[in-house]
Amino acid sequence: MIKTHKLTKEFSTTVAVRDLDLSVDKGEIYGFLGPNGAGKTTTIMMLLGLEKPTSGLIEIFGKPLEKNYFEIKRNVGVVSENQYFYDDMTAWEYLNFFGRLYEVEEREKKIKAFLERVKLYHRRNERLSGYSHGMKQKIAIARALIHDPDLIILDEPQNGLDPYGIREVRDIIGEENAKGRTVLISSHILSEIEQTCNRVAILNKGKLVAEGPLDIVKMTTQQHATLIVEIENLTEEIKEKLTTQSYVKDCVEENEKLILSVDRDNDYRSQVARLISENGGLVVGMQAKSYSLEEAFMKITDSNLETIIKEGTA
């Protein structure tokens, strides 16, 4: 659906995006993450043709953007982090204008449906200048979806929304994705990305530093997997035996539980359970610690990023 190859954008003094290779597949919800100034918005602007890349290629729907500009743009819906509206227009007029721009069929019916969906139909004849931030964001989402685009690009769509608004947006994203639409979301609300996305890409200082399914990306930041084992009859001998195993990197007792750091190359849970049982212990419970996207994000984009990458590849 979206492919970039060695996409680079240089400004006079900085390189905003460097050699970016992205691949967003049809029908997925793709999270695009990175700290402020990482180059996310610049990348999105290049995808939309609003910034010209210094070098590299962009393909959307399998076609280069420059040669199929109108065809592609008519099939993309965008919500940006900034809210720009014609304040002299009402919500109805605004959506009607964009409906005309995209040549939407059964325009009035669709506008009505979208306004009802975002719970603003009763305020359709009010000027947008009187709308709150959250209401404007909902209108922006309605505008982005009015022409039933196959690709939806959302740059911080939940910016400034209250918990109800955030949930509404999440539901809308889910509903649109269920219809087979591809969604690219850039967001700082990592918990939302975690709840909605299938795959993520993390950008830092213009470079792609992690990309793939959510679980894999979360794992790549950890050198070792962590197992939390609850044992009955825990003895020093069990601890010593575990410590001598080549795959165990660390073993700490904490609240009658053993916290084991093990190699990531394999699933060692059965081996650990067997060893404990052979040495007179009884495994009452065992779980692999899951890392949150936030932890992964912080670690990946931290200042010691270079070190992590080196360690990870060593």
């Binding site: 609003l50 910034e51 109108f70 743009k73 964009f98």
Partner: protein, 290 residues
């Protein structure tokens, strides 16, 4: 033209025209134009009465009166010309804000998320200005038709030639305003630039006339340099200023020269095309983001 592009142009021009028609500016410009035209016509009638002629003359008397004074036999032409000037200045001001305002507000960026490119955007803005001028012209035509009926002053061929010319003038003015607008990111800067150019366009010919009338012979030193410089500037302004294109056409109408009239139309069209192309070029260089 690409069908998708024409859809975008139609939608954007329609939105902008609606916005213009719901604002005060255009009606102030129309009112001003009509007031100036009325004052001019009132002065005309006063002049005729002072000369002892019938205020409602036959066309023969009228023609003889004006030909003796080497003036146009169409009393409506001058007032229309001034009304057109006022309408055209409004169009230039409006055009000079058209691009920068959308860039300033960020709404341009939202438009470009969709099926809009620089050509569609600039052409839509231009079309909207022409349509707005068309609305102004409709008011003027209505007013002059009523006035002609009431006063018995004939609306001759010159009047209708002036109407055609004024549409092309609107094209020149709109493209000039848009050229200025494409260069700026803020509305305030566009307006300042517009005022600076209007002042230049008005003062340079006046200065040039001043030097030519007051120092026609051989002069030396600073005066000679000043006269030469204003002469060059005046030549430049005669090609840069959109007003000068209306001036050329008006002279052609007064001289009843069809060739000169057609030439002035062609020059106006060329001027408009060059400035629109320039606007698109600069627009692409500047980008759409705030």
């Amino acid at each position: 033209m690409n069908n998708y592009r024409s859809v975008a142009i139609k939608a954007m021009a329609g939105r902008d025209l609606r916005s213009t028609l719901f604002s005060m500016g255009i009606y102030i410009a129309i009112a001003l134009g009509l007031i100036v035209a009325s004052i001019m016509l009132y002065t005309y009638v006063g002049g005729i009465m002072e000369n002892g002629l019938d205020v409602m003359p036959s066309s023969e008397t009228e023609t003889r009166y004006y030909s003796e004074r080497q003036q146009t036999p169409e009393p409506m032409l001058g007032p229309l010309q001034w009304a057109v000037y006022i309408g055209a200045v409004y169009i230039t001001l409006s055009a000079s804000m058209s691009i920068s305002r959308e860039r300033d507000q960020g709404t341009m960026e939202v438009l470009f998320y969709g099926p809009v490119d620089s050509i569609a955007f600039v052409v839509a803005k231009f079309l909207e200005q022409i349509l707005a001028f068309g609305v102004i012209l409709l008011f003027y035509i209505g007013y002059f038709l009523i006035l002609s009926k009431v006063s018995n002053f004939a609306l001759g061929i010159g009047f209708f030639k002036m109407l055609i010319l004024s549409l092309l003038l609107a094209g020149c003015m709109a493209s000039f305003g848009m050229f200025l607008s494409s260069m700026t990111r803020r509305v305030k800067t566009s307006v300042i630039l517009f005022l600076v150019f209007i002042i230049i366009f008005l003062t340079v010919p006046v200065l040039h006339s001043y030097f030519m009338v007051n120092f026609p012979g051989n002069v030396k030193g600073v005066l000679s340099v000043a006269r030469q410089v204003t002469s060059y500037l005046n030549f430049l302004v005669s090609w840069i200023s959109p007003f000068s294109y209306l001036q050329r056409g008006t002279v052609a109408i007064l001289l009843s020269s069809n060739i000169e009239f057609i030439k002035s139309l062609v020059f106006s069209l060329l001027y408009t095309a060059v400035l629109l192309a320039g606007s698109i070029f600069i627009f692409n260089k500047k980008g759409v983001r705030r």
